[in-house]
């Protein structure tokens, strides 16, 4: 069993890679791409007054947007992978993972026009004084980082002008196929085309001037990068993970990146949202099982009775009600103060005053105080109801069918012939054998519940994974979406693994060794 579980855990890796690759490609293909929401919004999360180029520089640096999608994805995988190569990352006090600045890109095809790259002097290595506090070290890094971002933005801006100039020159000589729709030259244009643009378009001086600008901006940016690298190498923050081969191989917790819509590490966002979603589901799923399985058993033992017919009909009727509609009805009739009962809270997971409540319910001056736990449960009533009501039908029908199958089995006749009372026949013999399909149902119920909780969380404004994912979809927050897919994938696959392990426990004929 141990080896089987290990094998399954290892097999999760390719599944997760496939899953996240799909999500990654979907985001990459979506119109406007990952930065779309930022470009439209006022860029509120970034330093005020940033130019468009600086914004782009920020995004490119953070998400590697100037690389092909597949390379971006491999980079993401590298960050998520617990096994890291090369220099170890560092973790800032905010929880943000800081890594060494990436290599800077030279202006494309500069070598056709200008043979030499400007020399960049390497700065002296930085050594932090023993007396420097953490804040001072952090400030030193931030200063170097901001300086580099500015110069890098400059470099990108001048490079874009250079490419636009070349693009115009290429259009001049009717080589439109090497020009992007935005008017810049394609970065993979052949050398010959660039040579012809230089000589035949009559824009030689213009091109040379734009390249000179680009190269000098590149040189200063490269200098700033090396300075930042020097600060980074001095290790202003604590290093992440454990080294295996120092400087080459280390093991660290997966880095899910920063959410650009909220400016916080994704890990922190998920650490807040996932427990809420799991709480919802771990209340809802037992409720489904506690109601559906016994009623399925009763329906089987009293086949054709009014209970069988009535419960079957009721569950199927409930199953047919769309979740969104049911949520709205519940809000309108049970939660709303004006038109409904007002018996339940309308939104959220806690009352406003929940912060001041005691943990357990108590009496204060003769007044009943709900306490934090009861308050939370009270808020969870409607969301949980919305999650469970569709679940009864399939599970109870499945239980009923499995029980009926087993009632006719030969071993039941044997048990009767032994003199086993009928109650024990149902509970000990038939039910135990009907467990397999009931466990199988868990495999299909659990993912459906997680999906269903997206809608329910949105309607009831419960700040769980569902709300997080919807917000991330609207803002095309790639890191949050990927992390969501990743975590939900892991949770689901663990649930399936659990079901398979339960299989083996329920049925001795199943063995994985």
């Amino acid at each position: 069993m141990g080896t089987y579980i290990l094998r399954r855990l290892i097999l999760m890796v390719p599944t997760l890679i496939g899953l996240t690759l799909m999500v990654f490609l979907l985001i990459a293909m979506s119109p406007g791409g990952i930065g779309a929401a930022l470009n439209v919004s006022s860029g509120g999360q970034m330093d005020s007054g940033t130019s468009k180029a600086q914004q782009q520089a920020y995004l490119e640096d953070r998400y590697g947007l100037d690389d092909p999608v597949l390379i971006q994805y491999v980079r993401w995988l590298g960050r998520v992978s617990p096994v890291k190569f090369g220099q170890r990352d560092q973790i800032a006090p905010t929880g943000e993972v800081v890594r060494a600045p990436k290599q800077l890109k030279t202006p494309p095809r500069y070598d056709v026009i200008n043979d030499t790259l400007p020399e960049v002097e390497a700065p002296d290595p930085v050594v932090f004084d023993e007396s420097m506090t953490q804040e001072e070290q952090t400030r030193a890094y931030r200063l170097a980082s901001q300086h580099y971002t500015r110069l890098r933005a400059d470099s990108i801006r001048t490079r874009t002008i250079y490419l636009e100039t070349l693009g115009r020159a290429l259009r001049e000589i009717d080589q439109d196929k090497y020009v992007e729709r935005t008017g810049t030259m394609k970065t993979d244009a052949p050398k010959r085309a660039v040579e012809r643009a230089l000589t035949e378009s009559g824009m030689e001086s213009e091109i040379r001037e734009s390249l000179d600008n680009a190269l000098s901006a590149y040189a200063s940016a490269e200098r700033a990068r090396l300075e930042l690298k020097a600060v980074f190498d001095a290790k202003p923050f604590r290093e992440a993970g454990f080294p295996i081969i120092p400087g080459t191989l280390s093991v660290a917790a997966p880095d899910l990146g920063m959410s650009f819509s909220r400016g916080r590490p994704v890990t922190a966002l998920i650490a807040e949202a996932l427990p809420i979603t799991l709480l919802l589901n771990f209340i809802a799923i037992p409720i489904i099982y506690i109601i559906a399985v016994p009623s399925g058993m009763l329906a089987a033992t009293h086949r054709g009775s009014w209970f069988d017919v009535l419960s079957g009909g009721l569950y199927v009727a409930l199953w047919s009600v769309p979740i969104v509609w049911a949520c709205v009805l519940m809000l309108g009739y049970l939660a709303n103060n004006q038109s409904g009962l007002g018996a339940f809270p309308v939104t959220g997971l806690h009352s406003i005053e929940a912060q001041d409540m005691t943990w357990l319910p108590s009496f204060n001056d003769g007044h009943f105080v709900r306490g934090f736990i009861l308050d939370t449960l009270w808020h969870l009533c409607l969301p949980v109801a919305a999650l469970v009501y569709t679940g009864f039908a399939v599970l109870s029908k499945q239980t009923r069918a499995a029980m009926l199958d087993n009632f006719n089995a030969d071993y039941v006749r044997t048990a009767k012939a032994k003199g086993v009372p009928s109650r024990d026949i149902v509970l000990r013999h038939v039910f135990r054998n009907s467990l397999l399909p009931i466990i199988t149902m868990f495999v299909s119920i659990f993912p459906a519940m997680l999906a269903g909780s997206v809608v329910v969380e949105k309607v009831f404004s419960v700040p769980g994974m569902g709300s997080l994912v919807i917000e991330a979809i609207f803002l095309r927050d790639r890191e949050v979406l990927l992390a969501n897919a990743f975590i939900i994938g892991v949770v689901n696959m663990l649930a399936l693994l659990l079901a398979d392990v339960l299989y083996a426990l329920a049925d001795p004929r199943i063995s994985y060794d």
Binding site: A409, D410, Y411, R413, T414, A415, K416, A417, K418, G419, V420, P421, S422, H429, R432, N433, A506, D507, P508, R509
Partner: protein, 377 residues
């Protein structure tokens, strides 16, 4: 393989009068609801009896009502759709009291099942619960009927497994049914049936699914336990070789009725009903050459065969559902009134049409205290 099991728990028998039948089936009729169509009469007017230390073989083709008869005596017929129309099954308790098994309440029946009457089914592969160890299943039977601790039940179960020749019984107690072969599973079934020392064993084709050597071992085992425990056995089978080898009294059934009832020697030497003759004629005999075998059809479709009974000239004709009833049929106004189980000779009964000649026939119900073992001594 089989020595008599060491008995730590008290053997039940000894005081029992072995000259009184332990179970008598009287005029039993069972029918099943067929949904839209008419009710299906599975058995009608069935009569038989079995004595302690005796094996009654019930023989007949599939669907003739053998299993329904035995299941009825355990009230294992699902009702509905099944229904007991008429008749009674009298069972003699240890204190000599007679109870009608068809009328016992579910609770009373539970103390009979497994304890007084045990049953072995024909599908050893599916008759054990796959999710419990065989030990659990045997112990369940023991603790249901005997006031013993789990530890004692374990010992009794190990003894029972040993008695039926399962090697390493202590270790095999913890094995699951799927870890046993078919023959071993049937042994487990027998061990389970015998663990409570029943006084009557219903063996419903116990060897059908097994190969011949295992079959012989299992039957030998049943024979031996019958002798050591004063147990009565009803052996349901369609294998006449098994019947000849293992039974004392034979009851041949067809279409839900008894067509012939005699001790095993009488029946094989002198079959009276054409169906029985056909059955016996269709067995290939080692040492004689056949171009082809005689089929039952060839016998029962020959009208001459039906005129061989003593008293045929007076109108005593063997009952056969596919034949037209004789012209002088004097059917009584009751179900199965066209039929009677007529005592044709000493210790020999044949199912006949109730013609004028048998109008007032009141043959005693078949009761044969005959044991091959007694004959041999």
């Amino acid at each position: 393989m089989t020595q008599a099991p060491a008995q730590t728990s008290e053997p039940k028998a000894s005081k029992v009068n072995i000259h009184e039948p332990i179970m008598e089936v009287n005029n039993l009729a069972v029918s099943f609801d067929n949904g839209s169509g008419p009710r299906i009469q599975a058995v009608d007017g069935v009569q038989m009896s079995v004595y302690p230390r005796q094996t009654l073989a019930v023989v007949g083709e599939s669907g003739c009502g053998k299993s329904v008869t035995s299941m009825s005596s355990m009230q294992l017929i699902p009702r509905p759709p099944g229904r007991f129309d008429r008749g009674r099954i009298d069972y003699r308790l240890e204190n000599g009291k007679l109870v009608n098994l068809l009328e016992l309440s579910e609770k009373e029946m539970r103390s009979i099942r497994g304890n007084e009457i045990a049953m072995i089914f024909q599908e050893p592969m599916t008759s054990l619960n796959p999710v419990y160890t065989v030990g659990d299943q045997i112990i369940e039977a023991i603790t249901l009927h005997q006031p013993v601790s789990t530890k004692q039940a374990w010992d009794i179960a190990v003894e029972a497994m040993d008695a039926v020749g399962i090697p390493d019984p202590n270790g095999r107690m913890k094995a699951y049914p799927h870890q046993f072969s078919g023959g071993m599973r049937q042994r487990v079934m027998i061990a389970m049936a015998l663990a409570c020392q029943p006084r009557l064993l219903l063996a419903d084709e116990p060897t059908t699914a097994l190969d011949v050597t295992i079959q012989a071992q299992i039957l030998e085992l049943i024979q031996e336990l019958k002798q050591t425990r004063d147990m009565a056995v009803i052996l349901i089978t369609h294998d006449l070789g098994v019947v000849a080898e293992n039974s004392d009294v034979v009851c041949v059934m067809y279409a839900g009725r008894v067509v012939e009832y005699a001790n095993v020697y009488d029946l094989f030497d002198n079959p009276r009903h054409p169906y029985t003759r056909g059955l016996l004629a269709s067995i290939p005999k080692i040492g004689s050459r056949h171009d082809r075998l005689v089929t039952i059809d060839e016998v029962v479709k020959n009208p001459e065969e039906f005129k061989k009974l003593p008293g045929a000239d007076k109108g005593i004709t063997p009952w056969w559902p596919w034949n037209d009833a004789p012209k002088d049929l004097a059917a009584r106004n009751e179900p199965a009134g066209d039929y009677c189980l007529h005592k044709i000779a000493d210790d020999h009964w044949v199912g006949c049409w109730r013609t004028e000649a048998l109008k007032d026939d009141n043959s005693p119900p078949p009761e044969l205290e005959f044991r091959c073992a007694d004959q041999k001594q």
